[in-house]
């Protein structure tokens, strides 16, 4: 709603980050996409009470963050913006699940609090890694990587088109909204009727654009696939990146028996 113009701005900000240069930026997009996928699945596979054992996984997004020299505050802000849903569902856990799972000295921690913390941590890890991925890889590069990983080209094409036109139509919608608010006083003109007219207007412009686009494609003999001048290679560095990180995640996962860690903790305190 009110935040969407802002998110459009954020979208372009993220996009700008992706065109910086660093060893991480230079890696083939396929390597990064695959590694993040493995990471997300590993994070999700942990026990629902896993908290401490998840912490070593933070190394992945944080080290990418540092190596790619990304602005931490900006990414943290994006993370905080989308946190409410996880908070909302997670906050019921302490209410419903009150059996004590962990005894820290005199403090009894219920399963609900553990799983609540776990949800928040999972959330930060998964969403954080996706944000980092998009900040070190441009969206078109991700799309091409997907295509080369076997996603149907029709869908890849759709993604590329969509991404191209989000900015164009977004700017158009923004102008319409501004024009309406300049002409409406005391909330008049914000009703459904004007809204529907605006929306239909936007739709006509969209369809008109689709027609022009189609003609342009035909006149350039478009074959259903974008040709790229430079195609990055999946070389040794990429292999090392994927295997190294995935190995790290999987080892952590195998080594982390939540129960063992819990009993160890109980022994310490």
């Amino acid at each position: 709603m009110a935040g969407i113009e802002h998110s459009l701005f954020d979208l372009s900000a993220l996009d700008t980050l992706a065109y910086q240069d660093s060893p991480i930026h230079r890696l083939d997009a396929r390597a990064k996409v695959l590694t993040v996928l493995v990471f997300v699945v590993v994070v999700a596979s942990y026990d629902k009470y896993a908290v401490l054992v998840l912490l070593p996984l933070l190394v992945f997004p944080v080290s990418l963050l540092i190596m790619a020299r990304l602005p931490v505050a900006f990414l943290l802000k994006r993370l905080a913006l989308v946190a409410p849903f996880a908070l909302l569902v997670g906050m019921f856990n302490p209410l419903y699940d009150q059996q004590v799972q962990l005894q820290l000295g005199g403090l009894a921690i219920s399963g609900g609090w553990l799983s609540f913390l776990s949800i928040l941590l999972r959330f930060s890890l998964t969403i954080g890694s996706v944000l980092v991925l998009i900040a070190v890889t441009s969206f078109p590069a991700i799309c091409h990587a997907l295509g080369r990983l076997g996603v149907p080209w029709t869908f890849v094409l759709q993604l590329l088109f969509l991404y191209r036109y989000i900015f164009v139509l977004g700017a158009e919608a923004e102008r319409m909204v501004r024009a309406r608010s300049l002409r409406s006083f005391h909330g008049r003109g914000n009703g459904l009727k004007i809204y529907a007219a605006l929306l239909t207007q936007l739709l006509w412009r969209t369809l008109e654009r689709a027609r022009r686009l189609y003609r342009a494609m035909l006149s350039r003999c478009f074959s259903g696939r974008f040709r790229l001048l430079s195609t990055s290679r999946f070389g040794r560095k990429e292999l090392l990146f994927v295997v190294g990180w995935s190995g790290y995640f999987i080892l952590l996962r195998l080594g982390s028996d939540a129960a063992a860690v819990r009993s160890w903790l109980e022994g310490v305190f």
Binding site: I119, F123, L162, E174
Partner: protein
Amino acid sequence: MHMADALLSPQVGGVLWGVTAGTVAYCSRRVRQLEDDSTVPMMGVMGAFIFAAQMINFSIPATGSSGHLGGGMILAILLGGPAAFLTIASVLLVQALFFADGGLLALGCNIFNLGFIPAFIVYPFLFKPLAGADPSRRRLFLACLVSAVVALQLGALGVVLETTFSGISALPLSSFLLVMQPIHLAIGLVEGVVTAVVVQMIRQQQPGLLQLATATPARPVFSWRRTALALLLVSLLVGGIGSWYASSQPDGLEWSVAKVIGGELDSTSSLIATLDNWQQRIAVLPDYDFASATADNSLWSSRFGTSLSGILGATVSLTLIVGLGVLVRKRNQR
């Protein structure tokens, strides 16, 4: 509402990723086979249109909140099932990557809830029979409204089932449903009205664009079998949800929640309102099963084994998926 990675187990996420990936492959093939290759640029800009349309909103009278277009049904009505599905999937992928809506593992769930359901369930089995080939103004309006409401209800049900099957959240099925369904009823009504008004306008100005009559030219539109199947599906689902309501509906509070929340859940201010409200609900509902909830940490798994609602949920979703697979396949063979 988007499903989130943090609430999802790899099993549930993986299954829905599989379903979604298969559907993307199938739809891509269908779209490539289309005679009219102008569909491709059309899909691209229509996806961007959904984004842009969400920047425009309108005030809902007497509530103080505002609403905007979600878009699933409009896409299905304008583009037809497969193209609409691909478009929604692409929009959700961009949202997952840039706006961190949901996440990567949850992407399969989100595409299923918000893409598969409107494009392959509601559009062919509810919207088309309801609207018919040449509907009157009122009938078209009603078809849009009902379809949007049902699509959102099913989508919300999807989120609830996926969350409970994953078992990360301790929220019992019935209370989660009780919160999600009414909110999405309100959102669905707003969405439905907007969809209906826009479709009406399109019809007035460029009737050729609507995929009403074009998709089923030779066959008679009314078919007993399809209508019966649609009714069966809907009644199964409504029955499933309805019975939960009947057993645990405490008072009219949920209606007020819906009223307070009104349009959408994505702005922070309305989120705070939501939080407050949910907290209130917990406090004023003593007849919820808190006592037993504290007893056992594997609460959900033990409940799942015995509770009727769990079995019902499983049956409904299973029937839905298997039935649809068969139906879609049959439709394509013809």
